[in-house]
């Protein structure tokens, strides 16, 4: 039985479609109305407000906090400046990814770690010998994501301090009304956006202030369905969909290294050893068997295929996450070389997109592959080309006035 999040009194009023699901044990809105389009376009044109309280949060503090986080993270946390946020992943001893999330550095020895899976116990077990305190604070912090081109204007309206100049992946403490709020310029939509962290008791005050300030900008509450569409456009992977935590895998072949899921850039090897570093160094030298790529599914061929059934082309209205096979070659000689794990028709880009894991030799940009498509219960294949991600990468995402 999922629990209500601190924003439930508001979100439950707004969710007229009654479409919910359980996210980490909390009620989470899939879509507020019966269609996801208005919410999707709000994120890309004005702003969307999404309740992200179910994220797992841990506070890591104490004299050895930096050394400890360096030891557990693929990323060199020592390089994070105060007030900076770093995206990283955590690996096991074999260099296989356990989870991904962000680390916010508040001062010399105080950090906040967010994750997709419960991670507190794992962190504690790695902390032997470090003078560090790890607190599970998931229920002590309510969280909202305000995402979209108007996010800065809306936030500036309600905050007691200047937040307009807050840089990409930077953090700042401010107030909204009387409520202390931590603002990070982060998000899961690949757009200009912020995440706001506050005490559960202040949740409704902050929500109401943002709703009022957002109204003139046509801000809408945003559900997980539209979020899923935007995160694929942004090229962001999702734990449990595009890769699996080594902790939950039953087979070694289900596990991935950071290099295999597009997180190689978060791995900093030129420093003291960290969990999994030996295996990651080896893999970096020898190469990785798998790679995560963006695919663009050929529209002309899709249209032709539908036409051969005397049908107009039809695509799912929402993002999908049921893996489909990806092949190299055509006809009888075709060989499965991977699988697309999630995808979406981008209403903004007018492109049919997917994220896929493929064998490295087929991962080069421009590689022409085949992806399975089902029309009238019949399985066919259409061309899918390896393209660069993020699919959508607006300048406003990183820029600061």
């Amino acid at each position: 039985m999922p629990l209500p999040s601190p924003f439930h009194p508001r979100t439950s009023q707004l969710c007229t479609s009654l479409q919910w699901k359980s996210w980490a044990g909390y009620h989470a809105v899939c879509r507020y109305g019966t269609e996801q389009d208005p919410e999707y376009h709000a994120v890309r044109q004005s702003a969307g407000l999404i309740d992200v309280s179910p994220l797992y949060k841990q506070r890591v503090h104490g004299p050895d906090a930096e050394a400890f986080l360096c030891w557990v993270s693929a990323r060199n946390v020592a390089k994070l400046k105060i007030g900076q946020v770093g995206y990283t992943c955590w690996c096991d001893e074999q260099g296989k990814v356990l989870d991904d999330g962000t680390i916010t550095r508040w001062d010399d020895s105080d950090y906040r770690v967010t994750s997709a899976d419960p991670s507190w116990s794992w962190l504690v077990r790695q902390s032997k010998g470090f003078d560090v305190q790890i607190d599970e604070i998931s229920d002590d912090l309510a969280a909202l994501a305000l995402q979209g081109p108007k996010a800065r204007a809306i936030l500036s309206d309600v905050c007691g301090d200047d937040v307009a100049s807050l840089g990409f992946f930077r953090a700042q403490r401010t107030t909204i009304g009387s409520a202390p709020v931590e603002v990070t310029r982060t998000g899961y939509t690949g757009d200009l956006g912020y995440e706001l962290w506050m005490a559960p008791d202040d949740a409704l005050t902050v929500y109401d202030a943002l709703t009022a300030a957002g109204a003139p900008h046509s801000m809408l509450p945003l559900g997980l369905d539209a979020l899923d569409a935007t995160r694929i456009e942004a090229g962001f992977i999702l734990l449990g969909v595009d890769y699996f935590s080594a902790r939950h895998c039953l087979l070694d072949s289900q596990k991935s290294s950071p290099f295999e899921i597009g997180l190689g850039w978060t791995v900093h090897l030129k420093r003291d050893p960290f969990i999994g570093s030996a295996a990651l160094k080896r893999e970096k030298l020898q190469g990785s068997p798998w790679a995560l790529v963006g695919l663009e599914i050929d529209w002309a061929q899709t249209e032709q295929l539908f036409d051969s059934f005397a049908l107009p082309p039809h695509l799912p209205a929402a993002a999908w996450r049921t893996a489909v096979p990806v092949y190299e070659g055509k006809g009888a000689g075709a060989k499965q070389i991977g699988q697309a794990t999630s995808g979406v028709w981008s209403p903004l880009l007018k492109r049919n997109l997917a994220l896929a894991s493929v064998l490295t030799p087929h991962a080069a940009l421009g590689s022409e592959l085949q992806i399975e498509i089902t029309i009238e219960y019949q399985r066919r294949r259409v061309k899918a080309t390896v393209v660069d991600t993020p699919f959508f990468d607006p300048e406003r995402k990183r820029s600061t006035p």
Binding site: M1, P118, H248, L250
Partner: protein, 527 residues
């Protein structure tokens, strides 16, 4: 006089499974059941009008899915309803409930230990992976490592290869589980008693051992091998009580042409020239068969129906040394309202699964202390289920049946087992008193009470020393040593006489594997 292909002694679930497979293969089969009702210990009976008790065995988990398919048991009335949760109330008014919803379970455990809450799924996953190694062993006759026959060598090589396929870390875990006690093993994973106690208890069910006795950790694995509808680790109620399992198997056996007689008590197996030729009933009737299969436990089969004078001395020694040591009893209650647990007075969602009265490891060990010296536990471990919450066919509307599995109740009381009838009601009172400490209004709600001591289990159900598994499920009595080394593949020293009960590999619980594997061996196929 008619000569049957096979006569099966005992209409318990294994005897019936064996009968069904033999009849399906075209044999002319007769099943003889001593009682008026089929099922042995997997039996439903309406003892109090309107209330159907699963008199002895009360949950189904390890019933082999391939038996369900082979015999098409759903067609013959088998319906399994999953147990949804596991509830552990504590004397201090707190409680823990474990749910199918993992987030909810994590939150509940975190009330006691956040560490345990997050480790719990890791434990489950490790057990599942190790169970992958053990599970095929229960679906085939046990390979004998001392035999040099090609088949035995090949079986053993396969087992070794599967062991090798386990990740090294899991091999280490398995060897720990083979040697450690359940409580010590769980100490290595968890810190909260409320979690460890009800988990550790699975290591001692049906054995005369404590949660701190070495070797008990292994049985934890069995809980991760349960399988209903392809989902692991689930336990279920059979609609209409566990007797429905037996009746559905009987229905399948009859559909293949098997004949089943109740109130047909066997006196002895007839032998001629060292070969079994049939049975003589207590009423003097003589029945002939080319083969006789016993579904009763090894002591009853060999000491009772065959006679030690007809058996090789070493074999007799082996059977005599085979340990029964029944350690549990059963109390069935008909109640006029649902018990209310003071630690969770609202709703009954948490009562739809099982309720474990196992508040701490120390509590369990103390319960064992009393049993060691020949007394039943004054505050025993209870595993309580209220099947009427999910299966309304077993009680009138608004009323319920409460089934309490009780450990320890040692067969060998200080004054000898025959002292049990005099202590039966005191034992029943101890159980009700214990449960009433957690569910205060219980006593006033009781309409009828059935108390089964190990003595009763022996007298009424023919379970030697009241052991519910036809002999302890301790490591040295499993696999190629069950019941006696060298005779673990359903054969016996008597030609034409076979065993198919729980006292053969893999034994224990409503699995049906012993019955099915015995039939396959008899039919000349490999297990």
């Amino acid at each position: 006089m008619k000569t049957w292909d096979t006569i099966i002694i005992g209409g318990g679930h294994n005897g019936l499974v064996c009968a069904a497979y033999l009849a399906k293969a075209g044999q002319d089969v007769l099943v003889l059941e001593r009682r008026h009702v089929l099922g042995g210990a997997a039996v439903s009976e309406e003892i109090h009008p309107g209330f159907t008790y699963s008199v002895c065995s009360y949950v189904v988990s390890l019933l082999r899915p391939w038996i369900i398919r082979d015999l098409n048991l759903p067609k013959h009335g088998l319906e399994l309803i999953p147990l949804e949760s596991s509830f552990t109330p504590l004397p201090d008014g707190r409680s823990l409930c474990r749910w199918p919803d993992s987030d909810r379970t994590r939150r509940e455990i975190a009330e006691f230990s956040r560490h345990d809450a997050e480790v719990y799924p890791e434990f489950g996953q490790t057990m599942m992976q190790i169970a992958r190694f053990v599970k095929p062993l229960i679906d085939a006759p046990a390979p004998d490592p001392t035999s040099l026959k090609p088949q035995a060598l090949s079986d053993f090589w396969k087992t070794g290869r599967r062991f090798n396929d386990l990740a090294p870390a899991h091999r280490h875990e398995l060897s720990k589980m083979m040697t450690m006690s359940a409580a010590d093993y769980l100490d290595g994973w968890f810190e909260s008693d409320v979690l460890k106690a009800p988990m550790a208890v699975s290591g001692i069910i049906g054995t005369f051992q404590g949660v701190r006795s070495p070797g008990t950790a292994y049985v934890l694995l069995h809980h991760y091998m349960g399988e209903i509808d392809g989902a692991f680790r689930s336990w279920g109620f059979a609609k209409g009580g566990t007797g429905s399992v037996s009746l559905s198997i009987a229905g399948a056996a009859q559909s293949f042409g098997a004949e089943i007689r109740t109130e047909a008590s066997v006196d002895h197996v007839t032998l001629s020239g060292g070969k079994a030729t049939g049975v003589v009933l207590e009423n003097g009737d003589e029945l002939r068969a080319r083969a006789v299969v016993s579904g009763t436990d090894p002591r009853r089969t060999f000491m009772g129906f065959v006679g030690e004078e007809n058996l090789p001395p070493e074999f007799v020694q082996g059977i005599k040394r085979y340990k029964f040591r029944g350690s549990s009893g059963k109390v069935n209650l008909a109640v006029d309202r649902l018990p209310v647990f003071s630690s969770r007075p609202n709703g009954h969602e948490h009562l739809r699964g099982d309720v474990a009265i196992a508040p701490s490891v120390e509590y369990l060990e103390k319960a064992y202390d009393e049993a060691k010296y020949g007394a039943f536990s004054r505050r025993p471990y209870l595993n309580v289920v209220i099947p009427s919450l999910v299966d309304p066919t077993v009680a009138p509307p608004g009323k319920h049946v409460v089934s309490c599995f009780v450990q320890y109740a040692p067969y060998d009381l200080a004054g000898g087992p025959s002292g049990w009838p005099a202590q039966r009601e005191a034992f029943g009172d101890a159980v009700v008193d214990t449960l009433a400490e957690y569910a205060p209004g219980l006593k006033e709600s009781i309409l009828h009470r059935q108390v089964l001591t190990p003595w009763d289990l022996e007298q009424e159900f023919g379970l030697t020393e009241g052991n519910i598994f036809h002999g302890e499920l301790s490591l040295e009595q499993l696999a190629f040593q069950r019941p006696v080394a060298g005779w673990a593949q359903y054969r016996t020293p008597i030609k034409g006489l076979w065993q198919c009960g729980s006292g053969t590999h893999p034994g224990g619980g409503i699995m049906g594997a012993s019955g099915a594997l015995a039939a396959r061996t008899m039919l000349g196929g490999r297990g």
